[in-house]
Symmetry: C2
Subunit: 193 residues, 2 copies
Amino acid sequence: MAYCVDKSSVFGFSLETGISKDRESSKRYLSNLRGMVANEAVLEEMIKKENSLVYEFYEMGVPEHPGDLAFGTTICYPGKVADEYFMTKGHFHAILDVAEVYLCIKGRGLILMENPEGDCLYEVLTPGKMAYVPKRYAHRSVNIGKEPFVQFFAFRADAGHDYGTIETRGFRKLVVERNGEFAIIDNPKWGKN
Amino acid sequence: MAYCVDKSSVFGFSLETGISKDRESSKRYLSNLRGMVANEAVLEEMIKKENSLVYEFYEMGVPEHPGDLAFGTTICYPGKVADEYFMTKGHFHAILDVAEVYLCIKGRGLILMENPEGDCLYEVLTPGKMAYVPKRYAHRSVNIGKEPFVQFFAFRADAGHDYGTIETRGFRKLVVERNGEFAIIDNPKWGKN
């Protein structure tokens, strides 16, 4: 062949499970949701029984340059803490004014979003659907289905993460089960931590 | 429900075919490859018979802001012009210093890349594999398989496209079939248009 460098197989994952054999995922367990769920008593009971995996994600290590893109996959497992669906912690970007795109590969979930002014959005995702998180919106993935909720994501590589704001004050809304379907309700503990 | 705006179903497509019912795709036919293939005589014969669809793509209309992301899907159909596989025209970004990410959903293809200095790269993609087009690299998708090659893509929304450079001078390399497998060879017409 003519001189052309093969860069294949940089990163891949199963479109069925979201799992990659190419690298280690970052894992978040029930214990990582302490302080983030509505019913802390039920959470503690669950942790005593088994500190289950709630979600895991793979992120490509790219330079934090405004011309680069961070990308990877996230898998949120099905389950609930009391009536509140399993979810990721969620975050703002450290550079607030950048967007993020998600593509659902498997399962059924939603992206819950809010901006600093308190506007709240959500998008329900099934395989093939894309969610666009607008600039300035914190976002969290929530599994409202019965199988793993697998997504591909991409955002500007210099955007960074601000987890602290959400860890401190929570999201304004909760996603809970009501009569077998999801409902979005006000978070009674919002801003009170 | 508490006040939270439903932004669902913004855009979705079939993970089997890449086709979306939500909007119209941009389509490129054999006639759009005039001046871009090695064997123009065979191309003209094929067009006379049937001006087949070579590829189509869906692109989200987002503001051309450095904090936004352009994203969508591209479907390159299987086929060859003589021994040269069906491919997209390919482009640099108008802002040269931005990357692009691709996720293969279906089929088998490759991304062919080159920078202005003449360095050439490629990545072979199968479902679940991701390709990262580094900053400053022109890129083209090539279907080296027997079914549609479907990819999801994302890049910084202000990056723009420069198709002209490739249209004028071509890629330095061609992707052709040799004994049932792909081979990358030097483009004898490179820079001579």
